[in-house]
Symmetry: D2
Amino acid sequence: MEINGVTIDNTYAEAFPTWVCRVIITAVTKEWAKKAATEATGFATSAIGCPCEAGIEGDIPASDTPDGRPGVAILICAGKKKLKEQVVERLAECVLTAPTTAVFNGITNAEEKIQVKLHFFGDGHEYQKEVGGRKCWVIPIMQGEYIGEEEFGIVKGVAGGNFFVMGENQMSALIGAQAAVEAIDKVPGTITSFPGGIVASGSKVGSLKYKFMPASTNEKYCPTLREKVPDSKIPAGIKAVYEIVIDGVDEKSVAAAMAAGIRAAVKVPGVKFISAGNFGGTLGPFKMELHKVL
Amino acid sequence: MEINGVTIDNTYAEAFPTWVCRVIITAVTKEWAKKAATEATGFATSAIGCPCEAGIEGDIPASDTPDGRPGVAILICAGKKKLKEQVVERLAECVLTAPTTAVFNGITNAEEKIQVKLHFFGDGHEYQKEVGGRKCWVIPIMQGEYIGEEEFGIVKGVAGGNFFVMGENQMSALIGAQAAVEAIDKVPGTITSFPGGIVASGSKVGSLKYKFMPASTNEKYCPTLREKVPDSKIPAGIKAVYEIVIDGVDEKSVAAAMAAGIRAAVKVPGVKFISAGNFGGTLGPFKMELHKVL
Amino acid sequence: MEINGVTIDNTYAEAFPTWVCRVIITAVTKEWAKKAATEATGFATSAIGCPCEAGIEGDIPASDTPDGRPGVAILICAGKKKLKEQVVERLAECVLTAPTTAVFNGITNAEEKIQVKLHFFGDGHEYQKEVGGRKCWVIPIMQGEYIGEEEFGIVKGVAGGNFFVMGENQMSALIGAQAAVEAIDKVPGTITSFPGGIVASGSKVGSLKYKFMPASTNEKYCPTLREKVPDSKIPAGIKAVYEIVIDGVDEKSVAAAMAAGIRAAVKVPGVKFISAGNFGGTLGPFKMELHKVL
Amino acid sequence: MEINGVTIDNTYAEAFPTWVCRVIITAVTKEWAKKAATEATGFATSAIGCPCEAGIEGDIPASDTPDGRPGVAILICAGKKKLKEQVVERLAECVLTAPTTAVFNGITNAEEKIQVKLHFFGDGHEYQKEVGGRKCWVIPIMQGEYIGEEEFGIVKGVAGGNFFVMGENQMSALIGAQAAVEAIDKVPGTITSFPGGIVASGSKVGSLKYKFMPASTNEKYCPTLREKVPDSKIPAGIKAVYEIVIDGVDEKSVAAAMAAGIRAAVKVPGVKFISAGNFGGTLGPFKMELHKVL
């Protein structure tokens, strides 16, 4: 299969279940909501070494937020127990501390909920108040008052949706990957948790040489090892590969993000080949075929 | 004491020792160095609930980095053992994974050093190479090759330098705090680890009501509680307080940052009073008097 | 009338007809489209001293542009003859020169059209090509090829829609104005052409003292002159006024932008009063009453 | 000559004299100074079709500005008469109108000066005041008061310093050019006036085919015409060329900017060749040899 002259590999991305919480952060301006959201979703690229995976889902215009202020939606993804702990810590340390912010539940119709009891910070001075139909706690703080919901819906989502952008050289592949991430930014229900949304050093599980490593470089996809390792997956003429990893609230959203990202990447001159990562289908329950999602 | 008509309280900031590591992150453009640095220093506002405190110290022009590419310096602050763990994890998950990045030791003359052995990720394909006089490891990855130093100097620095920006209303105090952070951004050796560099909800140690809380709202500095709590520290006419918290490589840098920040804040219309936070001098070894640092 | 405790003056904005051209600028990434759009809409705040009024209307996702790349829509507003001249110059100097850009007609169903013949720049090497159903010219240039449409629809729109954000001090009014502009950014068919979308120094026609001045400070709305000029329009307690000026493709869009902006501004603490500017209805054919648009 | 494996052509950039004015714009935060500066330097890429050439020279920290607030320095370049007109219009329409800005003379020791009498806007309510040792006018406006100097030094500078970044494909050349511009941003006394600092469509004087065109595509440097025009200057394997054009306050600054830019560009993978543009030395009095400036 080809789009815009770029070959789309006949393969699939293998993805895994994860629990997902969406938090709506509002602030006096979009800029301040964005600053809080950026801090709250930092150090959260991969569950391998970070305490969770997290990212900014998108802006929410003032007209659509519970308190009528500009908002940013973030997704936080982890196992169920870790998820609650991380939502508590990240809201307590990175949003309650941020200027003018408020937080609201971003999945109101979820069957499962977690409690994020920030109001104890008020040391007895806190009180309850309804804002935009939401039951909130008001906590007196130095800047005045903090307002926020404390019950957040969580859903079973999908982590590890992915595709590879391969280019005739590094800058082509990089800008192809950047264009892909920009397109995915517009797809509701999804995030790309890595820096700038892009993975430069995709990994395999474990290590052939260092038994203590939980993950190591995916040598079959390393262009400089093309002639040195058996079974290299690097097509002729490819000098760089970037992986886009997508987490989302459901399989459909992740598939839509993969499609939008691939369609954007193939528009960039020098992008030559699109593939995806899987483990032969033995691990993840979701198999997202590139030819099908497009 | 008054500057620009704003009262500077006759008090001091109480600060604590911390271990500090500086990492220089370079990339193909400043933008990509910044993206990696932002991810690597996220979820790192306060040692109370985050695994470390971290932030961007400043840009380094291409002409001054070991590999001649644009750079960003970050500081990571924690106890010694935690520091090594956090530098390893944050470089492995947020910088090695980021497009086109390299990392270099930012304190070459430090007496103490930590080892950050990312090269095992290469699974045996890694090799050593000198770049700009630095002994680096080269790791084959999907994008091509990653290059980085693995030995980083650490020094005993200062955490918790601070001052309070008090305003006649919230927006004045907020922009005063923002101007302060912008000025501190130019002071070498320092970071402001909170979102946008500003703390909206400064805390006291422990809680009067909830014994399980390690920290709670500092009710004496809450404007809305001015008439409700004894010994309120809120001057008449003050409606909002923001705290600027500064970590740095030494006391002198932190003092310079406090001075630069205060001088900038008092220029903002509506900023009325500057103070600082301390615990009566019983806890931290550093007492940074506002009148002296200015 | 009050919203969120803020008084909305019972008055109207007086607006004027203008000709409007919408240009869609696409590029390899949103960032490059934005850079070209920013340059092309610079020095274009007010028709009084600038050759036209112009601004960024909004992003267009890659999925919705003729060439499937990320896009930015800009509006350029002026009298009919001046409009053609300005579209030609701004596209020739600020978009054709910008990396990776293409331009497309943003009002395909307009009855009137202007011709923007950039293809002569090709010096005979140019040729025609269809892109996304649009008849384009391809011009060989140093970066490779430039592609763009050369026929642009223009419509009779509305210039000078406006409202005033008044605050208890300057920072409140400023952030109120900023929040208003952010909300207007989401309203299709409109721009705010001043720096950051905000006017700090709204004017009256002519000058009482200096006959050679086409416009001068609107002393009735100057807070520092409240006690010095007769008939000051500054309510008690107001210390700063910012004007938001809106141009748009039609009256309905401008009214929607005024409503969205006002609703956002009144959420900002310290904003106290909203009014609007008019000349007693003697000049502009459009009278946009604040109470009606809301 | 080679740097980092990239050939540096043995040629020179031909540059021309221009008059230059530096204006320091300060504001309550760097962000607002930047917004005013961006608007004031827009539509100012090339003197061929724009009323002047202009750009942002760099940030000035609060500690170094006359009023102790964060600042941005801009350069405006044109013939002497046009320069005065453009400085007046751009300050009046894009800076006086912008929130919280002040302006100061950026070349205090210049022999020649221009008068920029914005104070007539005050309609008689204006008055004089000293700020940071500068004689300023204060104009009552809606936001409160505007403050600014009205005498600006101008010097004979250099326009059209340039070099070409040539790449094995478009994305390599583009990121090479971007890295060059980032490096030039740090060189005092210089600007790059094109969008993002980069020219995608460098031109020759006049046109071979269309006599009414003052400039047209430089076909000798068009990669797609390499086999079609005689005397193509495109080396084998080059697929894209971007030109960096530099204006500055003197020849030395422009030479320093050229050197910094070239050294940064050659670090980007896929950049293969650096050259420069001249007209055989018949037109411009400045001949800046690449091998000499480096």
